[in-house]
């Protein structure tokens, strides 16, 4: 029984990690195709992509879009969550539902809707348009995480702050935000990685300046190459660093 559960665990990890491991291994392939057999290790492909200007520009664009759209989604989500947690308005339930609703809509539909709307109001496909699209998909996520994090304990601390003379912005800045730091960080990093990885919206809403997933897609059109594996490995590395950083700083502290 014992061996069986270990075997199951190994199989599970293999299932989850094997594709990524293969991707990373063949990014070092000393040859033209990222397929077995493995012909030896080289860093050539990394050199190639790191000197590829279009790719590096796309990487920079992705970072900026992810950072800004995550910040905007976080701010809006935080304000909405603390507002709805504070007062019970007629229709609070409906408002919460509407805020979370975009989560249930596929990215493709959201992208199409945004494309048509941006056309109407005259916003050209661009990084700005993509960033707005990412706020649309990440705002419900940030709102849901933060709203769930505001419990009775937080509510009464906010009430105490108001009682002691704090203005509304002071309540948010001095009490709500510090008390919700773990949730704020979790929401921010999730929003960041979702934007960082997002393809469909970015594909439909960018034209000349593109984000990294879109750039990778156009690389893939010219066939498989260890270079795409190398890019994929770098993207994966960024996500891993974010998750590990989160694990080491916030979640450890939050579990006290």
């Amino acid at each position: 029984m014992r061996y069986l559960s270990w075997a199951y665990l190994l199989a599970l990890f293999a299932f989850i990690l094997l594709p990524v491991v293969t991707l990373v291994i063949f990014s070092f392939q000393d040859g033209r195709l990222p397929v077995p057999p493995f012909k030896g290790a080289t860093l050539d492909w990394y050199r190639e992509i790191l000197t590829d200007r279009a790719l590096m520009e796309a990487l920079g664009n992705s970072l900026i879009v992810a950072l800004l759209s995550a910040l905007v989604a976080l701010t809006l989500g935080f304000l909405a969550a603390s507002g709805l947690a504070r007062v019970v308005l007629p229709g609070s339930v409906v408002m919460r539902g509407l805020l979370i609703a975009p989560m249930t809509v596929s990215y493709l539909i959201i992208a199409l809707g945004l494309l048509q709307m941006f056309n109407k109001v005259g916003i050209r496909p661009s990084l700005l348009a993509t960033g707005i699209g990412h706020v649309v998909i990440n705002l419900p996520l940030c709102f849901a995480i933060l709203y769930a994090a505001i419990g009775e304990h937080q509510k009464s601390a906010l009430k105490a702050a108001r009682d002691l003379g704090a203005k509304e912005w002071q309540v948010l800045w001095f009490v709500a935000a510090p008390m919700l730091t773990p949730a704020l960080a979790a929401a921010f990093f999730l929003a960041f990685t979702f934007s960082w990885d997002e393809f469909i919206i970015a594909f439909l809403l960018t034209r000349f300046d593109v984000t990294l997933p879109v750039e990778i897609w156009s690389m893939l059109r010219s066939g498989l190459s260890p270079a795409t594996n190398a890019v994929g490995s770098l993207v994966f590395l960024v996500s891993v660093i974010v998750v590990v950083a989160l694990e080491l700083t916030l979640f450890r502290k939050g579990s006290k």
Binding site: A157, K159, R162, L164, G165, F174
Partner: protein, 341 residues
């Protein structure tokens, strides 16, 4: 530093439910008032209305003579000590206590000095740099008190602050609260459902039930001369004997009793029934007795009314044997008119 509170015909409704029915209450400056009642009696609603967390459906709240009915909590001369303390977990005790002053624009040095002074008052000056989670429940309680008093409110509102503490600590905190209140002179309005706590700390107790004030008076008045059956029962155990006037006294199931003629229910506290002194309650047999440390709790069955049971608290070592027949005497009789309801 201190102000009187005047509650004028305050009525509060939550949708169809009326939590307060035209409550009138005058609280003098520097008074320690306890709002006492079972859960759902409206005491917390009244406290929230004084603190500004609720706006009454009708009526007015005056604090220090000024109309505060529609003023937000942050602009009122009141602060609240919350049931769950509501300390800020990310701040040191010093910053917690100094928070109100910071919001009033007081500089760091001045507010730290004041915070230390307040922490000193509650005996926690040596822990000023600690965070709330490093403290015990009783210590958090004290920090919450220091924080609420640091801004020198005219009125301090206490929302069942001692509910979460164990009995011994609660007694100790009651005494401390009382002492601190005398020292600072601030008006305290304290909510509780514990009648012993109310009697231990209050200058005046406001007994509430179903959104109305049942009785308002000093602990002695409320306990010894209750005005309604509800406050008689709520303040402590009572033996009830229905009486009707007859001649110079009253007649009852126990036989004629030598008290002032009145119609209604005779209420006698267990400690007011004894084996001597007062008016006779007739003979009764002891059916059960238990030793409670400071008294014996005894149940007597009157010979004249076998279906009745009188509970008496007799002094240590002075109770008859089980089944013995003795004559019982009552003191401090209170006769309440039977309630219409």
């Amino acid at each position: 530093m201190t102000a009187d509170v005047h509650i004028k015909a305050v009525e509060h409704r939550f949708n169809a439910f009326t939590a307060l029915h035209r409550v009138d209450l005058q609280i003098a400056a520097g008074e320690f008032i306890v709002l006492l009642g079972p859960s759902g009696c409206g005491k917390t609603t009244l406290l929230s209305i004084i603190g500004g967390f609720l706006t009454p459906s009708e009526g007015q709240v005056l604090i220090g003579g000024r109309d505060m009915t529609h003023v937000a909590p942050k602009d009122r001369p009141t602060t609240t000590m919350f049931q769950d303390y509501a300390l800020f977990p990310h701040m040191s005790l010093r910053d917690n206590v100094g928070f109100g002053l910071r919001m009033r624009g007081v500089g760091r040095a001045a507010r730290n000095a004041k915070a230390l002074e307040m922490l000193e008052m509650v005996g926690l000056a040596d822990k000023a740099g600690r965070r709330p989670h490093e403290l015990s429940g009783g210590q958090r309680q004290r920090v919450a008190l220091a924080r609420a008093l640091a801004v020198e409110p005219d009125v301090l509102l206490l929302d069942e602050p001692l509910g979460a503490l164990d009995l011994k600590l609660r007694r100790q905190m009651q005494e401390e609260l009382k002492a601190i209140q005398r020292r600072v002179g601030t008006t305290f309005v304290h909510v509780t459902h514990d009648q012993e706590e109310a009697m231990a700390i209050a200058d005046r107790i406001v007994v509430m039930n179903h959104g109305r004030v049942e009785h308002c008076g000093s602990p002695e008045e409320v306990y010894l001369r209750p005005r309604t059956m509800f406050s008689a029962d709520f303040m402590g155990e009572t033996n009830r004997v229905p009486v009707t006037p007859s001649g110079g006294g009253v007649s009852s199931p126990l036989g004629p009793l030598a008290i002032a003629p009145a119609e209604g229910m005779l209420c006698l506290r267990p400690e007011n029934i004894g084996l001597a002194e007062g008016f006779s309650l007739g003979r009764a047999t002891l059916v059960e007795a238990a030793f409670y440390g400071s008294y014996h709790r005894c149940h007597f069955r009157p010979l004249a009314a076998r279906d009745m049971l009188l509970t008496a608290h007799l002094p240590q070592g002075a109770h008859p044997g089980l089944g013995d027949e003795v004559e019982l005497f009552g003191r401090n009789p209170v006769v309440l008119a039977s309630e219409a309801a």
